[in-house]
């Protein structure tokens, strides 16, 4: 029994590294949409130029050798420069690309909320509500609703 177990263990020990070496870490479709064809300036999965075919062959070969997606990308960047990647890296100058839209929307949100709060404070500080105000407000609300519901 123990011998059998040991045997299984030994076989596994031999097989596991083999399996992991040959096990592709990513799919072609997945990585192709993240790479560019440098001569055609379109995405790799959309390109059929000779250069694109060579890059595909390279990626496929390295994939079957068990390289990770990152290793393949690094190797391609070393040959073609960063423009082979379909999105700039989130570091260096590439970080600017990612941060700017977030900063715009985040900043816009902060400004909008701040303005509304400032307005509200001014309104509340300005005056107490009289019955006439309340009646007026009710009329405004009703008018706004009537815009919505023309039945």
């Amino acid at each position: 029994m123990i011998r059998r177990l040991l045997l299984v263990l030994a076989v596994m020990l031999v097989l596991v590294p083999l399996a992991s070496a040959a096990q592709p870490q990513f799919s072609m479709a997945e990585i192709e949409s993240q790479l560019m064809c440098p001569t055609c300036q379109s995405r790799l999965d959309l390109s059929h130029s000779p250069a694109a075919d060579r890059i595909r062959a390279f990626v496929e070969k390295k994939r079957l050798e068990g390289w990770t997606e990152q290793q393949v990308k690094d190797a391609l960047v070393a040959d073609f420069g960063p423009s082979v990647l379909a999105a700039p890296p989130a570091s260096g100058i590439g970080l600017v690309a990612w941060v700017a839209p977030i900063a715009l929307v985040g900043g816009g949100l902060v400004v909008a909320v701040a303005i509304v709060f400032a307005w509200r404070r001014r309104r509340h500080a300005g005056r107490a509500q009289t019955p006439a105000d309340i009646a007026l407000e009710a009329r405004v609300d009703a008018a706004l609703r009537s815009f919505d519901d023309v039945l």
């Binding site: 479709a29 949409s33 300036q41 995405r43 059929h48 690309a97 519901d149």
Partner: protein, 663 residues
């Protein structure tokens, strides 16, 4: 002939410059006769441009290859149907189409604003004439369609990728959109110059914006369908600059269409609305610039014209000009009312605008980022799919959520009690949908589950709007459900048309997210007799079939498709080699199943020994993308269709409130 055409364009240019000045003088109140004269000039421009069109088309149809442009884009063997496509197949021809549409739209805009906005007309003419003059300069100087040469025996022919029915409709639809945005822009500028900054220009421009926005949307959908079935890599949107060029103005126009409602009702966001419409038009010029100047593909731009310069000047002039006008009229653009609560309809519109503009900015930033890095002396970075998809998900999901929240939240400020009541069912629907998706094993993709629950939430809100409205009519007027529903929609076209578009958006999102987040894919090298399993389908490779077309040879992999034991027939993905153009193209094989999913097969390569590389996808619910298109078109038509009752209502409202200048 060419001389007459060129002459017509030069004359049109001179008249456009004249019309701009005549509009200016009329606006300054010098002489009313200038107004008549400027209007006549616009008519004359239209007539001259039509003459130029006629000569150009005549040259195309009679194979007059002494016209350089005709020789470069057509040939004797070109099918008649694609002769029109050749019109916009060249730079000069597409600019000619631009000017033609603009001249026609200008006249329509003049008619439409005749009654309610007479005092804006001189300025409207001035702005439109200036825009027209810009494009006429392009047509006269750097990109004339009437350049002649010694006629060759036959033309070069039309680019094969343009010889496609989609390419015959898709560019004109986009152009109608791009040019259509010129009208609301001109109205906004005219309103500011004239000092009439009340909501009148906005109401008049709404229909124009909607139509232009609708054309852009249809153009993009057609382009997507073309990309999906013809380009054939398994997706429908590649985020290339040409696509982004149409998406940016569309997004900003979407923001405008929403924020317009806030200004109409509450007199807020006046500056913002002018910024939006200027931005949308500037981006449509920018889009034309991107697709026409070749700045993003400089390596391939063998034919380099200096047309880019003109566009940079125009782009900066539009933004700078509207900015200066806004600064000048800032005192007139004060908000009548203020936002009272962050939980109010107007606040949801505000957030909606922020997110839409955020996505538009992300796209713009992505398009120009390579140029920016290059300008700073760094290597040209590439920005493509992963970048855009990230922002579409991050900004798009909250946007989708707002689409469901909006109708539930009252104007001014919402009370907690009201919120509880209206949120209960939609929220429950969203949670149930999310739970069901996870239960069915769809939890693998968090954007998928999030989009699914948000879509359920929005669908229930939107549908309950229809049900509530119809129920109210039923109880008030005693109509049956069908009549109540149709009257409800018919009498509030704008609102319910908008909801129908929203339903279209939901379908589109489900189609887009479902087909990408839950697709199954398989790839393999198949020898005859081998099979490949993708989802529940098994593809068995029978052999390679060779066929000849008129100008290509095709090699197809014959694949037998079975699903759970039942035979679904054969599919033949192929590779075409075009002999003369020396290019190959992939002809994908697509089989749509009853549940709206597609089996999508690409032939990636054929080896010498007869083995083939096959890439296969199963894309669920992808058909919803195209169904969404019908909702979109239906909703837009419902909103755009002239509505006498609404027109009367608006006129009545104007009669009640005095103009700001007279108050």
């Amino acid at each position: 002939m060419a001389l007459i055409g060129q002459g017509a364009l030069i004359l049109a240019l001179l008249l456009a410059i004249y019309a701009a000045f005549a509009g200016l003088f009329a606006g300054l109140g010098r002489d009313r006769r200038f107004m008549t004269s400027a209007r006549n000039a616009l008519w004359a421009i239209f007539a001259l441009v039509v003459i130029a069109d006629a000569i150009f088309l005549y040259a195309i149809f009679t194979h007059d290859f002494s016209f350089t442009v005709v020789a470069d884009t057509t040939s004797r063997s070109l099918p008649i149907g694609y002769m029109f496509t050749a019109w916009w197949g060249s730079q000069a021809g597409s600019l000619l189409l631009w000017v033609t549409i603009l001249a026609g739209f200008s006249l329509l805009a003049l008619r439409a604003t005749h009654r309610a906005l007479g005092e804006l007309q001189p300025w409207l003419i001035m702005i439109l004439a200036l825009i027209g003059a810009f494009f006429l300069v392009l047509l006269v100087v750097p990109a004339s369609p009437f350049v002649t040469q010694l006629a060759p025996v036959d033309g070069v022919g039309l680019n094969p990728s343009l010889q496609n029915p989609y390419m015959a409709i898709h560019p004109p639809a986009l152009y109608l959109g791009y040019v259509g945005l010129a009208i609301p822009f001109a109205l906004a500028m005219a309103a500011m110059i004239a000092g009439r900054t009340d909501a009148r220009w906005l109401v008049a421009s709404r229909r124009w914006t909607l139509a232009a926005w609708g054309f852009l949307g249809i153009g993009m959908l057609l382009g997507s369908h073309w990309a999906y079935t013809e380009v054939g890599w398994g997706g429908f949107w590649a985020w290339d600059p040409v696509e982004n060029a149409a998406l940016m103005p569309w997004l900003v126009a979407t923001a405008f269409l929403h924020s317009v409602m806030v200004q109409e009702r509450k007199g807020m966001l006046k500056v913002w609305n002018i910024c939006l419409i200027s931005g949308a038009f500037a981006l449509s010029i920018f889009g034309t610039f991107l697709t026409r100047s070749g700045i993003l593909s400089s390596i391939h731009a063998f034919v380099s014209t200096n047309i880019g310069w003109y566009f940079v000047v125009a782009f900066v002039a539009i933004i700078g000009g509207s900015f200066v006008l806004i600064l000048w009229r800032l005192p007139l653009l004060k908000a009548d009312q203020r936002i009272e609560s962050l939980v109010s309809r107007e606040a949801t519109f505000l957030f909606n605008n922020l997110l839409l503009v955020g996505i538009a900015f992300a796209v713009l930033w992505g398009v120009i980022f390579p140029l920016v890095t290059e300008a700073f002396g760094s290597v040209r970075e590439t920005v493509s799919t992963p970048f855009y998809e990230f922002f579409v998900i991050v900004f798009g999901l909250p946007l989708l959520l707002l689409m469901g929240l909006g109708p539930l939240i009252a104007w001014r400020r919402a009370s907690l009690k009201q919120l509880q009541r209206s949120f209960l069912y939609p929220l429950a629907a969203g949670l149930v949908a999310g739970g069901v998706m996870i239960g069915f094993g769809l939890g693998s993709s968090w954007p998928g589950v999030a989009a699914g629950s948000v879509c359920a939430f929005v669908t229930v809100t939107v549908l309950s709007e229809f049900v509530r409205g119809a129920a109210a009519r039923r109880s008030i007027h005693g109509e049956n459900w069908l009549l109540a529903l149709s009257r409800l929609i018919g009498r509030n076209r704008r609102r319910y048309g908008g909801y129908i578009v929203h339903l279209g958006v939901i379908l589109f999102v489900i189609g887009a997210v479902g087909s990408s987040a839950y697709e199954t894919q398989a790839e393999g090298l198949l020898k005859p007799g081998d099979s490949l399993k993708v989802g529940s389908n098994v593809l068995t490779f029978e052999g390679v079939e060779r066929t000849r077309g008129p100008n290509f040879v095709a090699r197809a992999a014959v694949l037998d498709v079975t699903s759970d034991g039942s035979n679904l027939g054969t599919l033949k993905p192929a590779k075409r080699s075009y002999l003369r153009e020396q290019t190959t193209s992939n002809e994908v094989a697509i089989r749509t199943t009853l549940t709206g999913g597609d089996l999508f097969i690409i032939l990636d390569g054929i080896r010498g020994d007869g083995a083939v590389k096959i890439k296969a996808f199963y894309k669920p619910v992808v058909a919803l993308l195209w169904i969404a298109g019908f909702f979109f078109v239906g909703g837009v038509l419902l909103c755009v269709w002239p509505d006498q009752r609404e027109a009367r209502r608006i006129l009545r409202r104007y009669a009640e409130e005095p103009l700001p200048g007279e108050a």
